[in-house]
């Protein structure tokens, strides 16, 4: 019997022959048919054969030409057929999904959430870690300078702050660099009085723009001439967004003057869109450092090597290796500091960091969080795989029928691939949509302090998402689908459950993997939350909750120093009268803001003990500031109004300084020399609780407090510290008004709540805690859906068995246990593996945590309990249905 008609009926053509085979076969067929026909017409067989060839023409030539033509034709038709089949498969897939909306919803939602999280974090990571700042020409050769200092026995971790002379050493003493520039980020006051605004400025040296290679969007950048010390020129470059926001993108802005820090600055250029200098923080404007330097940083900043407050960037010359350049820079730096009394810089080592290497905790956390979203994606994959497997069982008879009809496995696989890609693509679409929305949210809430120039979703994000989608579609949908194509046809067609025995084991494994990853994430969330709690519970030595820091850069605005001092005195007196204010004082430097270091000689002690955190550091304050900061005096007394210029000089020391210098006796009544030689010995009148100097995580250091008025050459204060009776933010406006009533032409009066200052230091832990919790929650949700799904599937699959058990007298509890046990078992196993995974990975995470061990037992136990509780709840909810199985119904069905 011929299969032809049947094949034709089902449109199942046999395998297409190759082009050459096809040509030959056709020619042979033609010749033999012609011969047969000729014989029919009365030709002799051998003559007929010859005649057939004659009629055909030059057989070999035609064969060749036909062969070539056939190859062309086949290529074209193959492509056409491929597209045709693809559209057929697509239509088939979409139809299938519409028939199973619940299945499609679960899969697409799960993938969407996971892909969305992934895309969002990749977008952030891309900006923070992978992409160099915009508009920097050949960013790879521009380096950030960091210097490791020599501390007695070892080099410190490098940091970026250096002094202005340190920068000129690098600029003038090296040969490996095509450009060297320095910058300081500062906030300046735009306008004066009531209308004054604070702007984020970057103060730069002359080579900054030429070194970066950036072209101005409007006008021309300033260069060496305008930035020449000592005073430079009063010119300003506006950032693109600031130009748009503050000057309505006015093209006539070039040449106009704006009042900056109390003086008139000429606008010379507008930077291109997206340009934020060598960093990614948002900047409003750029001015030459010398133009505001002397007024903002005092007369000595150009020469003082102790004034380490600027960052340097250098462009390595083409052809020079980074190692050689760094060695060159180190040599120049050490030569420059050769005559310094402090060894730290004399033996300092210069390292060159790439611009995209932000090295910040935020960037590192973003990196971890991206890893976390990959884990979320894996959990989602496991989940989807489970759902697809479950559905695969239901579809086995359909697939078996198609296979029996002769649909080749390859064809079937392609169809399944298309179906999984459709699912993946829909998930990705949802994910990208989510990311577009969540990206802005996450950027604003979790990662402030970065100039997010573009939309959250860009080409690179889409590319990565596409790759992730492809991976997901193949791993989560295609592989499990493939299992269903390998089934026992006969068993399926005879109506039995041809379920391969391995399927439950696979589902069990997937569940375990899912729970393991989920446990790891929950532990991560726990660790960060604990870190954040530790940070919040930290004793900073000051009371941040009710303290405000008030500042106004009067000096930069052109007020001479005595005038500034006088104003601060009046301001302190004025604020003391303000209702709601408990205490007020002035200070030079403040914890978390800036601080000073100076040599100290203790009578009877030849050398001071060295602490890991260095020092001694000091803050200069006025009486009242100690109370203003909310510092706790442990022994002795605080500064009093009676301690003034001319009276006996007094100091307060921290608990640690007291214990370090006078280990076995009371520090009270002791004295030490500080400041210029020949000064008086300052008496310790009080010991205060240890105060943090500039960060939350600090090594022990020496710290003391002196009175501004009791210095040889009293400087002017830079902060007024106000302690409020109630919530501090409420007082900000009345403080601002009070000060403006004291002097109407004040530059912008900044009133910062200390809480906010400290919060920004806790930023990285907060980001970690928030995002880990969000992703941990997301993974719990996805895992719960997964566990619940598996159990609910087991209930429906095993209805018959449950019915028999019920009929044989099994108690409801036993029935529930039957369907729940394997899921809960998998969850338990997974949780255990997850904990092991955490223990393996945690040492790498420890540096991101705050005073929290990565193997913190309470966190581990809590995470374990959460995951197990969740697994129980998620499996019991659908599992209860097992107890309600009606034996009669169950046995009748099927």
């Amino acid at each position: 019997m011929s299969w032809g008609p049947i094949r034709r009926l089902f449109l199942l053509a046999g395998r297409e022959p190759s082009a050459a085979q096809s040509t030959d076969a056709e020619v042979e067929f033609h010749l033999s048919e012609t011969t047969a026909w000729l014989i029919e017409q009365g030709w002799k067989p051998d003559q007929a054969c010859e005649e057939a060839r004659r009629q055909f023409g030059d057989v070999e030539r035609f064969r060749k030409e036909l062969g070539m033509a056939d190859e062309r034709v086949q290529r074209v038709t193959k492509r056409g057929e491929w597209w045709g089949e693809l559209t057929r498969d697509l239509r088939y897939a979409v139809r299938g999904l519409r028939r199973a909306p619940a299945y499609a919803f679960v899969v697409i939602a799960t993938l969407g959430l996971a892909l969305g999280a992934n895309a969002t974090m990749f977008g952030i990571l891309d900006r923070l870690l992978l992409r160099p700042p915009a508009h920097v020409v050949e960013p790879a050769s521009v380096k950030r300078v960091v210097v490791a200092r020599w501390f007695e026995t070892h080099l410190s971790a490098p940091w970026s702050a250096i002094s202005y002379p340190g920068f000129t050493d690098l600029r003038d003493g090296t040969t490996s660099f095509a450009g060297v520039a320095a910058t300081v980020k500062a906030s300046l006051s735009l306008g004066i009085g009531i209308e004054a605004k604070r702007v984020r400025a970057e103060l730069t040296t002359g080579q900054y723009f030429p070194m970066l290679g950036t072209e101005a969007a409007l006008g021309r950048f300033y260069g060496e001439a305008e930035a020449a010390p000592p005073d430079g020129a009063a010119v300003v470059v506006l950032s693109y967004p600031f130009w748009q926001a503050a000057f309505a993108a006015d093209h006539a802005i070039i040449g106009r003057t704006i009042r900056l820090a109390g003086r008139a600055f000429t606008v010379v250029a507008v930077a291109p869109k997206g340009f934020t200098g060598a960093d990614t923080e948002p900047i409003d404007l750029w001015v030459p450092l010398p133009a505001v330097g002397r007024s903002a940083y005092g007369r000595d900043y150009l020469t003082g090597r102790n004034w380490q407050f600027i960052e340097a960037f250098m462009r390595v010359k083409p052809g020079v290796t980074d190692e050689r350049a760094a060695a060159d820079a180190t040599l120049a730096y050490q030569r420059g500091h050769a005559n310094e009394p402090r060894v730290a810089d004399q033996k300092g080592a210069v390292y060159l960091r790439s611009l995209s290497d932000r090295g910040s905790d935020t960037a590192r956390i973003a990196f971890w969080l991206y890893g976390v979203t990959v884990i979320v994606l894996l959990i989602a994959c496991a989940n989807v795989a489970n759902v697809v497997l479950a559905r695969g069982l239901l579809r086995q008879s359909e697939i078996a029928v198609r296979q029996a009809l002769g649909v080749r496995r390859g064809r079937l696989v392609r169809q399944l691939l298309v179906e999984s890609l459709v699912l993946g693509a829909l998930g990705a679409l949802l994910g990208v949509g989510l990311s577009q929305w969540a990206g802005d949210l996450v950027r604003a809430l979790v990662f402030p302090g970065t100039a997010w120039d573009a939309a959250p979703v860009n080409g690179r994000v889409l590319l990565v998402t596409a790759a992730a989608t492809l991976f997901t579609a193949v791993v989560a949908a295609l592989l499990p689908m493939l299992r269903t194509t390998r089934t026992d046809l006969a068993a399926q067609l005879h109506g039995g459950r041809g379920t391969s025995r391995q399927a439950p084991a696979l589902r069990f494994g997937l569940l375990a993997v899912q729970t393991a990853l989920c446990t790891a994430l929950v532990v991560g969330a726990g660790l960060f939350v604990k870190s954040l709690t530790r940070v919040r519970g930290l004793d900073l030595g000051i009371d941040v909750s009710r303290t405000l820091l008030v500042s106004s850069d009067l000096l930069a605005a052109g007020t001479p120093e005595p005038g500034v001092r006088a104003f601060f005195e009046r301001a302190v007196a004025r604020l003391r009268l303000l209702p709601g204010v408990e205490s007020v004082g002035a200070s030079i430097g403040a914890p978390f803001m800036s601080n000073y270091a100076e040599g100290v000689q203790v009578p009877g002690n030849d050398s001071l003990p060295r602490l890991a955190g260095g020092g001694p550091y000091f803050f200069q304050v006025s009486p009242g500031a100690v109370e203003g900061f909310g510092m706790r005096v442990l022994r002795g007394r605080s500064f009093a109004e009676t301690d003034r210029q001319g009276t006996a000089p007094v100091v307060l020391v921290t608990e640690r300084m007291a214990r370090t210098l006078w280990p076995n006796e009371s520090a009270l009544g002791k004295c030490f020399f500080s400041g210029p030689k020949g000064g008086p010995c300052r008496e310790v009148v009080g010991v205060v609780a240890d105060v943090h100097r500039q960060g939350l995580d600090e090594e022990p250091f020496l710290l003391y407090f002196t009175l501004i008025d009791q210095r040889e050459k009293p400087r002017f204060p830079d902060y007024i510290v106000v302690r409020t009776a109630g919530p501090p933010e409420e007082l900000a406006e009345s403080i601002r008004r009070a000060l403006l009533s004291e002097r109407a032409d004040l530059p912008f009066v900044e009133v910062m709540s200390y809480q906010r200052v400290v919060n920004s230091s806790a930023q990285s832990w907060r980001a970690g805690a928030t995002m880990f919790t969000v992703f941990g929650g997301l993974s719990l949700l996805i895992a719960a859906i997964g566990v619940g799904g598996v159990v609910s599937f087991a209930v429906s699959q095993r209805a018959k068995e449950l019915g028999i058990r019920a009929a044989l007298g099994a108690a409801p509890g036993q029935l529930v246990r039957v369907v729940v046990s394997s899921a809960v078992g998998a969850a338990l196993l997974g949780a255990a593996i997850g904990i092991a995974f955490v223990l393996l990975l945690s040492p790498r995470m420890e540096s991101l945590l705050f005073h929290t061990s990565a193997t913190d037992p309470t966190v581990l136990v809590a995470a374990l309990a959460t995951v197990i509780a969740l697994a129980l709840v998620a499996s019991l909810v659908p599992g209860r249905r097992a107890a309600q199985v009606d034996p009669i119904q169950a046995l009748r069905s099927d």
Binding site: G4, A13, S22, E26, H30, T34, G57, L66, A69, V73
Partner: protein, 121 residues
């Protein structure tokens, strides 16, 4: 066949081949037989040229070839008109008939033909 007529002949042949497969799909041999019969063997063309014509049409997606089974249970490649083949055939048939009619009108009167020959010689 003289070379000068090649293009004209090719076009004509393509037209005839398309016409051959209008009623039902045919294999190459079937098309040859149909053309021989329809033209009463007046158009003498090598069978190979006919296959080349089929390839041209296939490339232009005017006909579509696919393997099938003959009544004698042999595998043969069948050709059928595609939708655009149908359209092209209709259009070209109209053009051809109009063209041929015009040529025929000019050449049909004997006197006209003689005058022409006289002018040419």
């Amino acid at each position: 066949m003289p070379g000068a007529d090649l293009d004209l002949m090719r076009g004509t042949l393509d037209l005839l081949v398309m016409r051959a497969v209008v009623p039902k799909p045919l294999h190459g041999f079937g098309i040859v037989r149909w053309i021989r019969q329809a033209t009463q063997d007046d158009i003498k063309v090598e069978d190979g040229a006919l296959y080349l014509s089929l390839r041209r049409l296939e490339e232009r997606k005017l006909v579509r070839g696919s393997w099938g089974i003959t009544e004698n249970n042999r595998r043969a490649r069948y050709y059928e008109l595609t939708a655009s083949g149908r359209e092209t055939l209709a259009r070209d048939t109209a053009t051809w008939t109009a063209y041929a009619a015009a040529v025929f009108r000019v050449l049909k009167s004997q006197r006209e033909a003689i005058r022409l020959l006289e002018q040419l010689t």
